[in-house]
Symmetry: C2
């Protein structure tokens, strides 16, 4: 195959506080040739996710940092452009980790073939992918919601929050979302079918949240932290469970924000547990079976916020960190 | 029976911050007569426990506050002085909740007859009672220690901590205690058989704790909070479990102390869970069977810090809040 240009977004510098466009650089390389046992993937969709903010920092985390000068890491749906791997053929559509670039090599490890007839392939990065599974395992395995309980989730129109609330409804719970702005709240309540959605930007946020949770909160799926957490905290019931999945409102603070006071943990007998989706890797089969069925039957709805062109990934990522996205953020890198 | 004097320690006023002797008053009443279906217990031992500090406050908690002017609540071992209850006879020794007084009535609910031949009856308030069971259920049900893991507990010479570390050893773990002063540390390491015990009052506490936990900390049994917690926190391993049982170092602070930062909860995938012993009431049979066997075989050792005379209960209680006790704190009210 003829050598192609491979555009890449590399990490140019590590941010302090909120990242900016100048932390990224668009570079041009030559698309590599697959060696024996390798495939070359042509990126169709790149997933943008809050966890990537952590990868931009040098601080120790559960995953390796991105390296300065290297392409940002990220999940992708791609088409096999060339294969020297026995299990993949040119034209196959695969879920992988190609990163923020137009072409990426893989030795096949972790690649999963997608069936475009079963569901739009972009869903493998959202409702049927890592964000959906994060919602599923966090709510089910840690939150353990019982019918009639109240489940609260912030960023409720986002890739994870939307799934949390809809599964809560499927499980017979009262689902209350928190989102930024009237449009998102309307979508969460009317389209996704949450029992209520409260605007955290509204001046009456505190009272509105309390009113939406007349029986208190039994599960708070924590994906934002910050001021929202502090508003939720007094409403928690005894024995509430708090899966801690993300803290997007705190990712850009210079110093750590103090956590909730331990007296409340003790007095209310709360359970807090941090997790990442791969801590529950063994549940992937259950997730794909359940979520696949719910998507096909229309019980589990999703919304994608798609930006065209790799060059627009940094701006879309920064917008997502500020809540400007509306649904699962994706970059359409090629068609 | 002739009317007896019933001396009582009543809550005279609610403390702000550290309680003082002036929050208590010694009163004399007449010992009541049991009505039909009731027994009169003559207190032999009164248990003093950190949770009682919470009962002195009006703040909402998992249990009702003590009332000003009423005797302080508390677990007791007593002798049945008079019985009009079919299941109890004069002379029976019972575990109950007689409170800080020489005589108490009971309708029999929650009373448990003790066999003085099986174990010293005072142990029903300590190693074979609520503190022992608190250690047992918190460590076993929440901490879930695996052989080879490191378990850390503070107040390690105390009623709960001593049992936590010894059960950790029985379970094949490395047990590291934290205690105040060289005498307590020597007792914890040499007599109780912990692998190490670190003095939190020593200037090298931080380094000594790190040295005692060369493979990090997998279970931190939280019963003190405060500065000890902050020293433990950086040593926690990924997936560490933190049963939150008490926060004695913080009970007398005017305002709540900020909790551990949520980033660490997320990054290390920590589990924190507040509990009280009765959340696991169904485990009492298991506890009594296991701990009884361990005490009889000498695998589970205990130490009692016994003060004579009800009138000395307030001073003993205040001393315990400051770590002046050495072992399970008991008041011998009568012989």
């Amino acid at each position: 195959m003829a050598a192609s240009v491979n555009r890449q977004i590399v990490l140019k510098s590590r941010p302090e506080g909120m990242p900016g466009l100048d932390n990224f650089a668009l570079m041009q390389a030559t698309a590599p040739e697959p060696g024996d046992g390798e495939v070359l993937m042509r990126t169709l969709y790149l997933s943008l996710d809050p966890y990537m903010r952590g990868r931009m920092s040098a601080a120790k985390s559960y995953a390796k940092s991105a390296e300065v000068g290297e392409p940002m890491v990220g999940g992708t749906v791609g088409e096999i452009a060339a294969s020297r791997h026995p299990k993949f053929a040119a034209g196959d559509i695969v879920l992988g980790s190609g990163g923020w670039q137009e072409y990426a090599l893989s030795n096949g490890a972790g690649l999963r073939k997608l069936d475009p007839a079963a569901a739009p392939v972009s869903t493998a990065l959202g409702v049927l992918g890592m964000p959906g599974m994060t919602a599923y395992v966090g709510l089910t395995e840690i939150g353990q919601p019982k019918p009639g309980e109240t489940v609260v989730v912030a960023a409720a129109s986002g890739a994870v929050g939307a799934v949390v609330g809809q599964i809560a409804k499927i499980r017979g719970c009262r689902a209350v979302g928190i989102a930024g702005g009237a449009d998102k709240c309307r979508y969460v309540a009317e389209t996704l079918g949450f029992d209520a959605c409260v605007d955290h930007r509204a001046s009456d946020f505190r009272d509105a949240l309390a009113a939406a949770c007349p029986a208190g909160i039994d599960v708070y799926f924590e994906n934002v932290g910050g001021a929202v957490q502090q508003t939720v905290w007094p409403l928690l019931n005894d024995f509430a469970r708090i899966p801690v999945c993300g803290l997007i409102a705190q990712y850009n603070l210079a110093s750590p924000m103090p956590g909730p006071d331990m007296f409340t943990v003790l007095r209310k007998r709360l359970l807090l547990r941090g997790f990442i989706v791969w801590d529950f890797a063994s549940k992937q089969g259950d997730f794909l079976r359940d979520a696949g069925e719910w998507v096909r039957s229309g019980r589990l709805k999703y919304r994608e916020d798609i930006v065209d062109g790799l060059e627009n990934a940094p701006a879309a990522f920064l917008g997502m960190l500020q809540g400007k996205n509306f649904g699962k953020t994706l970059v359409r890198v090629a068609k």
